[in-house]
Symmetry: C2
């Protein structure tokens, strides 16, 4: 396959949560798990590299909070929001094509 579906989905999950409200990395993982009923989860060793990657690409922006606990609050950028919409539409299109094939002449599926 042309490229990593998992990677794209992971990035979309992060962007979608941040589109709803700015959060810390740790919170993002909790939100994703809660809102998908545990179907999608992030190991912290997976999440932080994704955040760093997205930040390098300008799709999210992180700022260290002053005082207290050492933590970084991430927010989505205009560019990130545009890529979220675009990539969501692209994924919807691909998923449609995928299930069209999977469900072709298929009446036994649950």
């Amino acid at each position: 396959m042309q490229s990593n579906l998992s990677k794209r989905v992971n990035e979309l999950l992060v962007l979608a949560v941040l589109d709803d409200e700015p959060s810390h990395g740790y919170q993002i993982a909790l939100h994703v798990e809660e809102r998908t009923g545990g179907r999608f989860t992030f190991q912290h060793g997976t999440l932080y590299p994704i955040l760093h990657r997205l930040e390098k690409q300008g799709r999210v922006k992180g700022e260290w909070e002053s005082g207290g606990r050492r933590r970084k609050r991430y927010g989505i950028t205009a560019q990130g929001r545009a890529s979220l919409d675009e990539e969501t539409a692209r994924l919807r299109d691909e998923v449609g094509a995928l299930f069209a094939l999977l469900e072709e002449s298929d009446d036994a599926a649950a």
Copy 2:
């Protein structure tokens, strides 16, 4: 994320094509590309290892054709068909949860 979405999708694509009709590896790649409008493709260096993996798991069965060109015809097994149904249902469930999150308060998407 718990596991490799791309891997699961790739396996489902192969199984779905073979569920429709037994085919050679080369044909599988062509079928997937045609039926998904080019949205999903297989490099042959990707496809053959997948077929070998599925065969080792008993989800497909390959047989060398006698005479002429050296090629192997793969067919789906009963076990493969069961896993196709099961995994398709699981994926449908996950995709539903994913888009529920992605489309939450989203009216700008295409």
